[in-house]
Symmetry: C2
Subunit: 186 residues, 2 copies
């Protein structure tokens, strides 16, 4: 009888260890201990520690990128696109916090892994498209700067957001959207 795959458990354990120790300091021994397996058994599933990093961040990064592609193509006012983008980004951050935090800490804007940098760049281009639509004829704010300010404002939530805090994620997404909409509308 085939044994059930432990890949899901290994990925969850990797997310925890990467978040606590950082990718560079994390050792496969730490992950093996967290998941209760021998290090040698983990090598049945992966070839390297990088494979684990990519397994951890694949789902949140593909979810956010796919949903943003669809959003940009929709027939909606730019204001509504920006608001939905904020909710989408925050929803991914909050629902898969350790996984998304690992992406933000280890990959976003760090130019370390070419495949992932391409996804990162595509996401930024999509956010810039929304900014360009929103700014219209205004030339005093640069769409790439506005896009990076928004993504930075949202990504920073992995450092301060608590699920038992005073405000929920949707309220925070709405307020950040309000601030940027008030400042960016053409």
């Amino acid at each position: 009888m085939a044994r059930p795959s432990r890949m899901g458990d290994i990925v969850a354990a990797s997310a925890k260890v990467f978040r606590e120790k950082g990718f560079d300091a994390a050792r496969l021994d730490d992950i093996a201990q967290e998941v209760g397996m021998y290090k040698g058994s983990i090598y049945h599933y992966i070839d390297s520690k990088e494979d684990l990093l990519f397994a951890v961040v694949r789902e949140p990064s593909e979810r956010i990128l796919g949903a943003t592609r669809k959003l940009v193509e929709q027939e909606l006012p730019a204001e509504e696109k920006l608001r939905r983008l904020c909710h989408l980004h925050v929803e991914v951050l909050v629902n898969v916090t350790p996984f998304a935090a690992v992406y933000i800490e280890e990959i976003a804007g760090k130019h370390r892994f070419p495949d992932w940098e391409a996804k990162d760049r595509e996401y930024m281009r999509l956010v810039e498209d929304i900014m360009r639509e929103l700014l219209g004829d205004r030339r005093d704010v640069d769409p790439p700067v506005a896009a990076r300010a928004l993504v930075g404002a949202l990504n920073w939530m992995t450092r301060w957001y608590r699920s038992d805090g005073r405000m929920d994620a949707d309220q925070i997404a709405d307020q950040v959207a309000d601030v940027f909409l008030g400042g960016l509308r053409g």
Copy 2:
């Protein structure tokens, strides 16, 4: 004859190594190699790797905190305070990039070192004070959320700002200030 202190060189080498490898993965051997000293000689200057982290981040964090304390007390319109805060924050990020980036990657919002967390909290309180002044009677945006959005937007610059880029740091600071001022003014 007393030998000249190498502490400055050790701190600069530490900033470089911490930024490249992360604090947890960085080894004293890496720093010794970077500065061209024996590991044993470095121990004449410090007791632990944490001492080096604190030496790296002390100057930028004290500069930004001291200047922000003064700014908040000044007799200036809240709009002008927010704009000056953006310039101050960006100036520190850009002029001491490897040092500031280490602070942002390893300390800000991470609750790892109590002394530094107190400074971090004080800085956030000062930014919240400016937000509160700026928002006046508005109740639809929470000052702590606005403060964290701004600090996140600025801190994210360590991931994308290049000194040879299309825009200089002052232009970026102005545009981020414009966006937040447009969205926050009461």
